[in-house]
């Protein structure tokens, strides 16, 4: 995490070394005990012997290598474009991939900037005392990588796009390794992991994902902290009156209430906020017809309870919940929410404050005039949608939490979260 007084490069190298030492210690400590979760991918014995900088440099090459895909035209960076804060370069609700680059992915592409290092493993704290559980900690689940949090480490997560038929579309890990063996940097891979590394495809496959992980965790390009808001937090810039009004609206728990989930204050050590609490939330974003899979009336992407994520399928209360994304660089995006339903920031904000006051604007209306709210969930699960936290509590016909002018102010504030090097996505 960014600490103003230190250089990022030094900080992350130090962090990585510390993490490895801590993990080794923990591994010894926990041997023979009930195994606690730790962020454990760095514990790989081979990776621990290789300098993090070597791994990260290799990971960079892999991240940008389109030859690792079946189409030969898709790399990680195709969707997670560094020019756009490692987010999507365009306004497609979901990106195209597959062998012919004509197959839709399942969900909108998130930015990879900032939050990877601090994404906790997927968890749901259980407080045994029911009174205290209710008072203090009956929080929704949190963490994990992906909109549904189904991966607890980046090196596990990396397998998904590499093998997903709608993305890089490799048929097997062996196919990925075969492509890696032909890559221009294959000798670098051998130098790092051993001359014989390609003789064992499963090990080579694991090693490449560790390198990818290191790049995403360590490379300074993922954590530039170069926005106006960062300068404001450091006392090096002033917000305009409009931006200040927007920040106040963003913070106000009785109105926008955004900062409850999109944390915007410095940590106690002066570290800058990441604008997410990693918790899951059910907003009831309308169904998006731009996603072809939604043509099937019985298909619902329900996030935490599936169908992409399988292990929480029995938890019906989790249906419709998706992980809160960071809002850093949100103003350069052209696609919002997990299903990319909205394409302007203004419309996304309007949805928040008018979802309940003007539901007919967002959801289908039957011939009898009935609004089918929360239409992207089966009717029996729509009670999962949040109607208790501001600004999601209003009655139909009531005044929205923000006026149009106030939305302008909030947009002005959100624009201060754009990094200096981040270019707006194109439509």
């Amino acid at each position: 995490m960014y600490v103003p007084s230190r250089s990022s490069r030094f900080h992350y190298r130090k962090l990585a070394i510390t993490a490895i030492l801590v993990l080794l210690a923990v591994n010894c400590f926990l041997r023979g005990r009930h195994t606690a979760f730790v962020y454990a991918s760095q514990a790989d014995a081979v990776a621990a012997e290789i300098p993090a900088s070597t791994l990260s440099a290799l990971g960079r090459k892999i991240f940008f290598d389109a030859s690792l895909s079946a189409s030969g035209r898709m790399s990680c960076a195709t969707c997670h474009d560094p020019a756009h804060a490692y987010g999507p370069p365009n306004g497609l609700a979901v990106q195209l991939g597959g062998p012919e680059m004509d197959r839709q992915g399942a969900r909108a592409v998130p930015s990879l900037r900032y939050d990877l290092n601090r994404t906790p493993i997927w968890n749901k704290e259980f407080i045994s005392n029911p009174a205290e559980r209710t008072l203090e900690g009956n929080e929704p689940p949190a963490g994990g990588f992906g909109w549904d949090g189904r991966f607890n480490s980046l090196h596990d997560q990396a397998a998904f796009p590499l093998l997903n038929p709608n993305e890089m579309a490799n048929k097997s890990p062996e196919e990925i390794v075969a492509r890696l063996k032909r890559a221009s940097y294959a000798n670098d891979f051998r130098k790092a992991f051993g001359e014989q590394v390609f003789d064992d495809p499963s090990k080579a496959y694991a090693d490449m994902r560790i390198a990818l992980e290191r790049f995403q965790l360590d490379d300074p390009s993922f954590h530039p902290y170069s926005s106006k808001y960062d300068e404001y937090l450091d006392g090096k810039a002033k917000l305009t009156a409009k931006e200040k009004r927007g920040l106040a609206l963003f913070d106000d728990p009785q109105r926008g209430n955004c900062a409850t989930c999109h944390l915007d204050r410095k940590g106690v050590n002066g570290s800058h906020p990441l604008f997410t609490d990693y918790q899951f939330e059910a907003l009831g974003v309308p169904r998006n017809p731009e996603i072809h899979a939604n043509a099937a009336a019985d298909y619902f992407d329900m996030g935490l309870c599936g169908p992409l994520r399988a292990d929480q399928a029995a938890e019906r209360a989790y249906c419709g919940l998706f992980k809160t994304p960071t809002l850093r660089n949100v103003a350069i995006r052209k696609v919002f929410f997990h299903n990319g339903r909205f394409h302007t920031l203004r419309e996304a904000l309007q949805f928040y404050v008018q979802r309940d006051t003007n539901p007919q604007r967002w959801y289908p209306v039957s011939s009898s005039g009935k609004v089918e709210k929360f239409d992207d969930l089966p009717p029996n699960l729509r009670a999962n949608i949040d109607v208790t936290d501001e600004p999601l509590t209003r009655k139909e016909g009531a005044a929205p939490a923000w006026s149009d002018a106030e939305i302008d102010d909030v947009i002005a504030f959100l624009e201060t979260l754009t990094d200096r090097d981040a270019s707006p996505a194109v439509h």
């Binding site: 962020y39 704290e125 259980f126």
Partner: protein, 470 residues
């Protein structure tokens, strides 16, 4: 049969004289070096306190199968206080009572969560309007006591004695709280330590420190001096080094495990959906594992072996739950805390209209969920004492609570009594001091016995008495 001793006779005469002529507090002021307890607890110079969370006495020391180390190994080694009570529900007020004798404010009784019984909440100053008998702060709410409110740590410092609070996980995530004297900024709103943080790449072990289980953070007298506070309230990891030498072991070692290790989080079964944020089972299972790790370290330390007393207890007891379903199909779940007290516990000046109390947490056509707190006490939790001066396998049915604990520590360390640890002769209020409990402790030199000229041992051949105070 005890041997006759002129020293004991002289000490008894002196003690009787003092009892007639002076209050207990004045006794302490006049001669801090006289033994204030009647048993071998007088020899104790290092006290270790481990506070666990939210369990009934009958579970912890009876029916639970999750804590075999505590029940089957430690209990036979120590003295079990069967009638030890918490002083309130929910957590924070218990911790505060242990180190200050203060009864709750309308906020500290609900862990300073805003919107329940308090109007201030979060990590904000106590709004004091006066002082009631026994130094009780009268307050409309708030959580951090003013600088002039007495505390056990400040008493220890004034007496030239040392103390440290050892907090599990504190500072694991330095953005969440500092690794020393870790607390939220005053007045900024939500306390982010209310929820446990799961492990991430940046915080590989996660962070389950909870400010509300760290009583030292609620007194300006402690937190305002940052350098002193950072020296005194540290991460639990520090304890291993501090235990190595008697000189580096503080006189008072106060240990709060993290939210998982203290049993607060998790069911203890390990069943999916009922674990701690870090995946551990929590409950008494994790508390037992914590004890299995740390109690041997403490008992092997030179300070404990010489003159140590380890007290293992809980902040408060748990609840009972009843479920009923009406003819219309509405299920009502009542979660009831008896709120029982012992020891003539007083509610303090701030709980009128607050305790007893009830909250309806859920009210739908199919489900009603009520929390009912029928009293202002913390119910029966029990405590286990381990010490060279404690009779192995002993039990005592004398009633004690956290105010008794405070009084007991003050007696052991020859300090004045503060808050509800002090007697009130007008109302005949007085709590027992654990050091007087002859069911638990071996006989000692006798109350009022001086320290400058040696002790008489009733059982000089007893191996427990190889390491007296001096």
């Amino acid at each position: 049969m005890s041997k006759f001793s002129w020293k004991r006779v002289a000490a008894a005469i002196f003690a009787a004289t003092v009892a007639v002529g002076a209050s207990h507090t004045a006794f302490a002021d006049k001669d801090k070096h006289e033994d204030r307890v009647a048993t071998a607890a007088a020899y104790v110079k290092h006290v270790f306190v481990i506070v666990l969370e939210n369990k009934n006495y009958n579970d912890t020391f009876g029916t639970s199968t999750q804590d075999p180390y505590l029940q089957n190994t430690l209990v036979p080694m120590g003295g079990l206080l069967t009638q030890y009570y918490g002083t309130g529900h929910v957590s924070l007020d218990n911790y505060i009572s242990m180190i200050s004798g203060q009864a709750p404010t309308p906020d500290t009784d609900n862990d300073c969560l805003p919107g329940f019984t308090g109007t201030i909440g979060n990590y904000n100053n106590v709004k004091q309007t006066g002082v009631a008998p026994q130094g009780q702060v009268i307050a409309t709410g708030g959580c951090i006591y003013a600088k002039n409110v007495p505390t056990l740590p400040k008493q220890l410092e004034a007496a030239g004695l040392s103390w440290r609070g050892y907090m599990g996980d504190m500072g694991n995530d330095p953005a969440r709280e500092s690794a020393t004297c870790g607390h939220p900024a005053i007045g900024v709103g939500t306390d982010n330590t209310n929820s446990a943080e799961a492990p991430s790449a940046a915080v590989p072990l996660g962070d389950a420190y909870a400010t509300r289980h760290d009583p030292f953070m609620y007194f300006h007298s402690i937190i305002d001096d940052q350098a002193s506070c950072s020296k005194h309230v540290v991460n639990l990891n520090r304890l291993t080094a501090d235990l190595k030498d008697e000189r580096s072991t503080p006189n008072l070692v106060f240990i709060t495990p993290n939210l998982c290790d203290d049993g607060h989080d998790g069911s203890g079964t390990g069943e999916p959906g009922t674990t701690c944020a870090n995946g551990q089972p929590g409950g008494l299972a994790s508390a037992d594992a914590f004890l299995k790790t740390w109690v041997p370290k403490i008992m092997e330390s030179p300070a404990y072996k010489k003159d140590g007393l380890l007290i293992i207890t809980f902040d408060e007891s748990s609840y009972t739950q009843s479920v009923s379903t009406s003819s219309t199909g509405q299920t009502t779940v009542d979660i009831t805390f008896p709120g029982q007290t012992c020891c003539n516990q007083q509610p303090g000046p701030n709980l009128s209209g607050v305790r007893p109390g009830s909250f309806t947490l859920v009210s739908t056509p199919t489900l009603v969920e009520n929390i009912v707190i029928n009293g202002f006490g913390g119910d029966r939790i029990g405590a286990l004492l381990l010490s060279p001066f404690v009779k192995p396998g002993s039990t005592s049915d004398t009633a004690y609570n956290h105010y008794s604990l405070l009084k007991s520590l003050e007696d052991i360390f020859h300090l004045d009594h503060i808050g509800y640890a002090a007697d009130d002769r007008r109302t005949h209020y007085s709590v027992d001091t654990i050091g007087d409990d002859e069911d638990i402790f071996f006989p000692g030199p006798g109350r009022g016995h001086g320290h400058g000229h040696g002790h008489d041992f009733d059982y000089p051949s007893d191996p427990h008495f190889k390491h007296p105070w001096f």
